[in-house]
Structures are given as C-alpha cells and as structure tokens.
Amino acid sequence: AQSVAQPEDQVNVAEGNPLTVKCTYSVSGNPYLLWYVQYPNRGLQFLLKYITGDNLVKGSYGFEAEFNKSQTSFHLKKPSALVSDSALYFCAVRDLAAGNKLTFGGGTRVLVKP
C-alpha cells in the first residue's frame, strides 16, 4: 500500500523567510507525488507534481518541491514566504494502478507571520 507522511502538524515562519513543509513517502514502484493547498474556506488546489525527470519541480505561487529518492522525501519549499501563504498543505501520492486514487498525508498548517 502507498502512503505519505507529514511529520509536522504546523509550521510557523516569518514573512520573507524560507518555508519548508516536509513529506516522506512509501510506495512500490515509481512514485507519483503531488502537493495540494487548501486556503481558508476554499477547496483543494493543485500546486505541483513529480512523476519523473528533474528532482526539483516548480509549481504554482512560487512553490517548488524536491524529490529525494534515497530519503524517500518530497519536501515543499518556497524561498520567501508571504502572509498569504498561510494555509493547509497536503502531500499526496497517486496510484496509477488503482484508478488514479490519491492517498493524502495528514496535512500541515502553515502560519506565516508578518
């Protein structure tokens, strides 16, 4: 079974500082990894995905994620956080052999303080 884990329930960061949201995965075969964000009172929005290729993936709103096979990690990063980045972030793995079903991590709440 595929799974992802987000070890931090909450991340606090000052505006302008780098932001990292951690995610580790466990899959059989090649991983198909994604990040979603949920802003307050909004639905889940796709940020970025890794399927194959370059280990550094760039996504929406200035976010990027680094795929690390040896550490089975897919951490989300942003060089300079904004207050508007405060939201709930979910890491997910997609199972192409099971109807493209997504398995999510528990979510990490990011709070960016001015």
Binding site: Y36, N41, R42, G43, L44, Q45, F46, K49, F90, A98, G99, N100, K101, L102, T103, F104, G105, G106, G107
Partner: protein, 111 residues
C-alpha cells in the same frame, strides 16, 4: 469553464437524520471521486466512479453511506442515518485523463 461544484457548503443535522451531498463534476470528466476529512485528520478516499459505474468503493466506511451517479453526470452521497463521527468535510474531485480537480467541499456537522 466551471469547476467542480459541491453543495451544500455546510450542513448541520442531528444524529439520526439523513443528509445528501451533491457534486457536479467538470463537464466531460468521466472520473468522479469522493474523499472526506474527519476530525482534522488526513483526507481519506471514499469511492471512485467511472461514468455511472462504481470503480472502487473500498473507502466507504459502512452501509450508512450510499453514493450514486445516475447518468454519469452529477453524483450524490447520502448518509443515513448520520452519526456524530460522520462530521467532517466531504470533498468531491473529477478528472479526465489528467489531474484531479477538487471542489470546495461540503462541511457536515452532526450534533
């Protein structure tokens, strides 16, 4: 192009009552998924439709939950009778051949 729409956005019911959630997928998307997030935990898969057929309903928690997708367009998720532990946010997503697009969710509160 309209996105995935869900309603109601919020429903408050008493234990034992019935609630029906609706999802309208993006037009032309054959795949429709239901997920839910309960008690601030992880988002969990409930089931997957391909057109009107249930492809995978392995995540449905028990027989109090009934999902339908008549005609392969919109879908409904009925909870009958609702229990306290059913409180949470129910997300619908649809896809064609690519990424899943999520709706804003329906928050269910069972008192």
């Amino acid at each position: 192009e309209a996105g995935v729409t869900q309603f109601p956005s919020h429903s408050v019911i008493e234990k034992g009552q019935t609630v029906t959630l609706r999802c309208d997928p993006i037009s032309g998307h054959d795949n429709l998924y239901w997920y839910r997030r309960v008690m601030g935990k992880e988002i969990k898969f409930l089931l997957h439709f391909v057109k009107e057929s249930k492809q995978d309903e392995s995540g449905m928690p028990n027989n109090r939950f009934l999902a339908e997708r008549t005609g392969g367009t919109y879908s409904t998720l009925k909870v009958q009778p609702a229990e306290l532990e059913d409180s949470g946010v129910y997300f619908c997503a649809s896809s064609g051949l690519g990424e899943l697009f999520f709706g804003e969710g329906s928050r269910l509160t069972v008192l």
